[in-house]
Amino acid sequence: MTAHPSEATLMAHAAGQLGRAHATVVSAHAETCPHCRERLADFAAIGGVLLEELPLASMAGGFDRLIERIDREENAVVEAVFTGARPRGGPADDIRLPAALDRLPVGRCRWMGPGMKYARVGIADENGVQLVFLSIAPGRAMPEHGHSGREFTLVLQGSFGDARGRFVAGDFAEEDEDTEHTPVVAAGVDCICLASIEGRMRPRSLVARLVQPFIGL
């Protein structure tokens, strides 16, 4: 008795040549069969090796078109976040939000100054620390401010710089009561950050201090 799919069947499956129904049965078997998963991995690698051998078809101008599309889509994503519409209908990596934010609601986008917006992430923090998205337009400077508690900032898009240097996507900036800074966003794209803010930001300028209570950060 043969308790596994034949080699030819596994190969056809890895090659994407089985129909839906057959493919589903093979997949279901492989879920509980490490032996077949391993053989399927071999057949997938064969696909990769054979792909390498294929002749090159012309893709003239394709790269620039794709980059334009990526730019358009990544901007649209940011808008989706900042209108408070929780982007749905695609895997999390489509919208490039960290998986850690999965299933957390995002509130309405609010104005917090010229070229600056924020949206709250609905998270019940045990210490009342707020979690927000910040979006700051290219070339804009945040008012110089200090902090009344710790503030962690993760850059998701664009970059900002302060006295310490430049923070780009993926960079983590840590502030506390002792730090004051004036982040300036680089030209090009909006700088989008995810920030956890303990206490309140303490703006140094009078105007900023006056409007701050209405902003709520």
Binding site: E7, A45, L50, L66
Partner: protein, 193 residues
């Protein structure tokens, strides 16, 4: 540029994997450009062989590389080589398009556009470069005819008919040829362990 000339300039598997990682980690567009130049023309070739018209084949190549950019964070260089990973993305995209085309008129069902076949990520410790080396060796040991059978099994719209035509054999005997080629391949893969 001929394929041979291009091969001389080819980034090797390790360099391509490094590019995929750089695309993910630092959203590095230059690394992504290397991946694009290397893979987009090959994916288009692949789609053409599966019977896609030129415009659609180009779109599949674009979609595949777009997915590479978006999913670069999921790329695990230890588990699969860049070419294996990109092959599976292209394959799944193609399958999805075919299935959706057949279902046109019905309401799109998100569950049905999920990964149609298993991801190429086994749970063994076998390293990707090791696996690809074995696979190359095993393919090289097949007879030219068996190699043709394997290639056509992956890269044609109707493998059975194409294999019959290419080998000049009756359709009824194709199945056993495919079975034999796949079993030989398995045997050589096990030998190379």
């Amino acid at each position: 540029m001929t394929v041979a000339e291009d091969r001389a300039l080819l980034p090797d598997a390790a360099a391509l994997a490094a590019c995929a990682v750089a695309s993910a980690v630092s959203r590095d567009r230059q690394s992504f450009a290397v991946l694009y130049r290397h893979f987009a023309p090959r994916v288009k070739s692949y789609a053409l062989r599966l019977g896609a018209p030129i415009a659609e084949a180009e779109e599949i190549a674009q979609e595949t590389l777009l997915a590479v950019w978006r999913k670069a964070g999921l790329f695990d260089a230890a588990k699969a080589g860049a070419s294996t990973w990109i092959f599976t993305i292209a394959r799944n995209l193609f399958i999805d398009r075919r299935r959706n085309a057949r279902r046109s008129g019905e309401v799109a069902d998100a569950a049905l556009s999920a990964e149609p076949v298993d991801p190429a990520t086994p749970d063994t410790a076998l390293q990707a470069d090791e696996r690809e080396r074995r696979v190359r060796d095993a393919i090289a040991r097949l007879s030219p005819e068996q190699q043709a059978v394997i290639r056509l099994s992956y890269f044609s719209e109707t493998p059975q008919t194409q294999i019959a035509d290419t080998l000049g054999i009756p359709l009824g005997t194709v199945k056993s040829r495919v079975r034999l080629a796949a079993e030989k391949l398995r045997q050589y893969l096990e030998d190379c362990r």
